[in-house]
């Protein structure tokens, strides 16, 4: 699948400044650099609607949204989040569209996907 056209684009001047402007309505713009020309997408995380941009992974979109906890552990219920971001540590495993153990750091966002920390019947 060719996804090269969907990659985020940074403009030189804006890439160094925190983006305080409104850009297609992402809530936590404090953490996003201004990257114009991207298509906004929406997905849900535990039922909450998350605005993101095409080309972002689920883990990054959630991080930009301020959602750092991606799952709670089985044994002690500890929060865990993005750790290695290259698909090695498996800390970011989430449910995506009813499929278990998907790596949020490797999975690209798309419109309407349903992401959950835990499985709901």
């Amino acid at each position: 699948m060719d996804r090269s056209s969907q990659q985020p684009k940074l403009t030189p001047d804006e890439s160094v400044r925190p983006n305080r402007g409104v850009d297609e309505g992402c809530e936590n713009e404090m953490l996003r650099l201004n990257v114009p020309g991207r298509r906004a997408v929406q997905f849900t995380f535990d039922g909450e609607t998350i605005n993101a941009y095409e080309g972002e992974t689920i883990a990054v979109a959630l991080l930009a949204h301020g959602q750092r906890t991606l799952r709670h552990t089985d044994r002690y219920g500890q929060p865990r989040g993005l750790f290695c971001n290259i698909g090695v540590c498996h800390e970011c495993l989430v449910w995506i569209d009813g499929r278990s153990n998907q790596r949020a750091c490797q999975f690209l966002v798309s419109d309407g996907i349903e992401v959950r920390k835990e499985h709901k019947q």
């Binding site: 996003r32 650099l33 865990r80 290695c84």
Partner: protein
């Protein structure tokens, strides 16, 4: 069965260089890579022209541009399967992968493993908190996605990579509270002469140091992050000076508030596929741990299986690219596409370059060595196996009751039995066992991988009868209800 002449796993510098080299010799390779775009972790794709020519020095990354261009030029000849995870290697170089089109299996005449490396993190109290991540993770969040991982960060660990990441975070608008480097400044002076083997690299490093200073980022030499504090996410890092062995002095610790803590102590080769392919392995501390045994042409002990880049010993992108080229030439030579005289000629040139890089690296390794004392950072309650949630005390108890080898300890405690299959915990735990039982790390043994090396959906596997029939000779009965479960 899909047969292919050459399958390359990984599209980082080594895999790309090998693919380009093969194309030039008239061999059409198949490249399988987990990421949406080629470049691997280090040569992440440049985004657009304006960024490349922009005023921002660090987010503008021209390294690897030439290789990207060459790879693009050959794209007609290369079968590039991006977004595809290789999860198993079976006998006769059969490669099982899983991607958007489901599971596929290829039988390769030649298999080049260019799997790269991942960052080594020593367990310390609080390292499982969200907001603690590897410097590489923070870098890719900024570079690939234009998202700041947080507002205030500390970049800690050891190695020149910390400087690169700190500067990139700074330029993206993250406040970098400090770079915490375990090596002491005097280590740098002592081994400075060895760094002159590669003046260009030396100058690059010096340039980074200067820009760190100009950016006003405090550089803390000879210090170590001993603890991450916070309830639901990291809120502060405890930093203390350490001695030559890396043992921290808690008396002089201080707390720095941060919302992002990036920690790594170098890199570990990703050798899982080489192990599954049956390659003979050896332990080389300076290379990052277990690596496949290779001859001077990068052939492993299994005929037709080759290894290039950090997966065969951590040495960085430039060496990886040279090795990729070398492996490509060697494969072309063994396919009869390149005559031996030409091959030998080009091989000699490449190996001279590699030898020069090697001497530079040896000096760098001595400055930024992984220090013994780091294994002492974990306290009794520190989770050391992130997947199975084992505390240091539980693992220590396992070691004391006879789990002094990798296999026995795994069976006794479940250490490394989670989805990461020991990638994260094992490098640190092998050192811990070795220290506690007075063995050498290689005596503790490798941790063994099982396919699938990454979780895959049973449904994907079931959908591909061809792959399934390769894997089992018995009729497989799997209930529909487990189709969405992952192995």
């Amino acid at each position: 069965m899909n047969r292919r002449q050459v399958v390359i796993v990984g599209a980082g510098p080594a895999g790309m260089a090998a693919a380009v080299t093969l194309c030039r010799e008239g061999v059409l390779p198949t490249v399988i890579d987990e990421n949406p775009q080629s470049g691997g972790q280090i040569y992440r794709q440049p985004r657009n022209a304006s960024q490349q020519s922009g005023s921002n020095e660090v987010l503008k990354d021209t390294r690897g541009n030439q290789l990207h261009r060459q790879f693009q030029q050959c794209r007609e000849q290369i079968e590039h399967l991006s977004d595809n995870t290789v999860w198993g290697i079976y006998s006769h170089r059969q490669v099982a992968c899983n991607g958007p089109d489901g599971c596929q299996m290829f039988a390769a005449d030649h298999l080049l493993l260019a799997t790269g490396a991942y960052e080594y993190v020593c367990p310390f109290p609080g390292w499982t908190l969200p907001g603690v991540m590897t410097p590489g993770a923070a870098q890719s969040v900024v570079k690939s996605h234009g998202v700041r991982p947080g507002k205030t960060a500390i970049v800690a660990g050891t190695g020149p990579f910390l400087l690169v990441v700190a500067l990139q975070l700074h330029n993206a608008g993250v406040k970098v509270a400090a770079i915490v480097e375990t090596a002491r400044r005097r280590d740098l002076w002592r081994h400075c002469p060895g760094l002159f083997w590669d003046l260009a690299m030396f100058a690059e490093g010096a340039g980074y140091m200067r820009r760190i200073r100009q950016a006003g980022i405090p550089m803390m030499w000879g210090q170590v992050v001993t603890c991450a504090e916070g309830n639901d996410a990291v809120a502060a890092a405890v930093v203390a000076p350490c001695n030559e062995e890396g043992v921290a002095d808690p008396g002089q610790a201080r707390t720095i508030p941060v919302d992002t803590l990036c920690v790594a102590y170098g890199f570990v080769p990703r050798f899982e596929l080489a192990q599954l392919a049956g390659c003979e392995m050896e332990y080389r501390e300076a290379m990052g741990g277990w690596i496949p045994k290779m001859d001077s042409h990068l052939a492993t002990s299994i005929p037709g299986v080759w290894v290039a880049g950090d997966g065969g010993g951590v040495a960085g992108a430039i060496v990886a690219q040279l090795e990729g080229t070398l492996a490509g030439l060697a494969i072309a030579n063994s396919l009869g596409r390149l005559d031996t005289a030409t091959f030998q000629n080009r091989y000699r040139k490449l190996s001279r370059q590699l030898a020069k890089m090697h001497r530079f690296r040896e000096a760098l390794d001595r400055v930024y060595q992984v220090r013994e004392g780091l294994t002492k950072l974990a306290t009794e309650n520190t989770i050391v196996c992130r997947c199975e949630e084992l505390s240091c005390a539980e693992v220590d108890a396992g070691i004391e009751s006879g789990g002094t080898r990798s296999r026995t300890l795994k069976v006794m405690t479940r250490l490394g039995m989670g989805p990461c299959q020991g990638r994260m915990c094992w490098p640190a735990m092998a050192r811990r066992i070795a220290r506690k039982t007075h063995q050498r790390v290689e005596e503790v043994g490798q941790f063994s991988f099982r396919p699938p090396t990454q979780p895959i959906c049973l449904g994907d596997l079931l959908a591909d009868n061809q792959t399934l029939s390769q894997l089992t000779d018995r009729p497989t009965v799997i209930e529909k209800s487990v189709k969405n479960q992952t192995l």
